[in-house]
Amino acid sequence: MSKGVLLFALNTELRYTDLAEIAVRRIKKHLSLPVTIVVNDEYKDVNQLFDKVLKIEETRVQHRIINDGVDSSTKIKWLNFSRSSAYDLSPYDETLVLDVDYLINSSHLKVCFELGKDFLVFNDSIDLSNTRNLSEFRTITPFSIRFYWATVFYFKKTLLNQIFFTLVKYVKDNWSYYCNLYNIKEPKFRNDFAFSIAIHLFFNSTVTDKFGYIPGKKFFTIDRDYLIGVNDTKMEFLVSNEVDTKLQPVAVNSIDVHVMNKHSILRIFNE
C-alpha cells in the first residue's frame, strides 16, 4: 500500500508553490512521506522536493480578501475548486491531504495511517488566541451542521471514498442550491463547507469503522496573526484579539499549526 501527502498549490497573485516548498521540507522531516504537488502553471521542481508534480487546469475563479496581520489586506484570486478531485489526482493508496499553510512540527499525523479507517478528518480545533469568539468554526452557520476543516484529511482509495468524493463534487457543482439549503449567506464556494455538508450527508458525522476523527485538535492562527519565529519544532506568533489592537505573543512546540497568514510564512522562511 503506497502512502503519501498531496498538496494543492495553485498560484495566483500569491505564490502557493513557494508555500508548498516550505511545507514539503517539514513534511519530509517529521512524517518521512513522499509528497505530490498539484499546480496550475509550469512549475519546475528544481530542488527535487516532490515525488510527483501534477498540472491541472483551473478555469473557475473566485476572489477573496486575505489579511497580512492587523494592518494590511489584499484582494486576490482564489482557485479552490480542485480539492474535491483529490481522490482522482492522488497517486497513493493512502493519502494525507494538507493545505500548504498547515505547517508540520511533529510526527503526530503519522497515526492516520495506523488507525485502519477509510476517511479521517479533524473533529475539533483550537485557536492559539484565547480571546476570540470563532463560533464560525464550530458549525457552518448558526444552528446548523457541524463544521469540518478541509485543511487536513486522510483517505484510502476505496469504493466508499470514491462515492464520497463524487458527492463532494456534486455539492460543489450545485453550490447555490446547498447554500440555500443550509442557509449559507456567503455565496463563495468553500471546501470546508462542501466537505462538512458531504460528511453530514454521507457519514452522518458518526464515527464508524470507515469514518473517524484525526486524534487531537487542529491548532490554528488566523490571518490577522503573525508568525514571528520558527525552528524545526517550535513556532512563535503574535496573535490578535477582539478586545483591543494589542498583539499577544504565544508559542507552541511539537504541535502542527494551521498558519493562515500566508504572507508571514513567506516572510519568516525567506529571512
Binding site: 488507525l115 485502519g116 488566541s129 484565547n130 487531537g216 505573543p249 512546540n253 504541535i255
Partner: protein, 116 residues
C-alpha cells in the same frame, strides 16, 4: 504613581501571556496523552489506568475495550497494554510538569515564550 501604573500593566501583560501559554500547554498535554493501539485511540487517563489495574488481578489475559471513539478493540495482553499505557501516562505528565514549571517560573514575557 506613574511607575506603579507602568508596573501594573507590565504584570497584567505577563499574566495574560502566562495564562495563554498555560492553556496551550494543557492542550498539548491532552494530545500527548493519546495512545494508539491496534487501530484504537486510548487516552491515558487515571480512570482507564485504574480500571486496567483492577482487571489485571482477575487472571484474564485478553479483554475487549472501548476506545475513545467507542470502537471495540481487542487487547490481547492486558499486562503489556497496561504497562505501555502507564509509561505513556508518566512520560506525558512528567513532560507537562517540567514545561509547566518552566513557564510559571518565568519572570518576563520573553522568557515565557523562550521556555516553551
Amino acid at each position: 504613581m506613574e511607575a506603579k501604573i507602568e508596573k501594573a500593566f507590565e504584570i497584567a501583560s505577563l499574566m495574560a501571556t502566562l495564562n495563554s501559554q498555560k492553556r496551550l500547554l494543557e492542550e498539548e498535554f491532552e494530545q500527548t496523552l493519546l495512545y494508539y493501539y491496534n487501530g484504537g485511540v486510548f487516552k491515558a487517563t487515571e480512570q482507564r489506568l485504574a480500571f486496567l489495574a483492577s482487571i489485571k488481578s482477575k487472571d484474564v489475559e485478553s479483554i475487549v475495550l472501548l476506545d475513545d471513539n467507542k470502537t471495540p478493540i481487542l487487547v490481547e495482553n492486558i499486562d503489556s497494554f497496561f504497562n505501555d499505557l502507564f509509561s505513556h501516562y508518566t512520560e506525558a505528565t512528567n513532560h507537562y510538569y517540567y514545561q509547566h514549571k518552566k513557564i510559571t517560573s518565568s519572570k518576563t514575557v520573553e522568557s515565557i515564550i523562550e521556555n516553551v
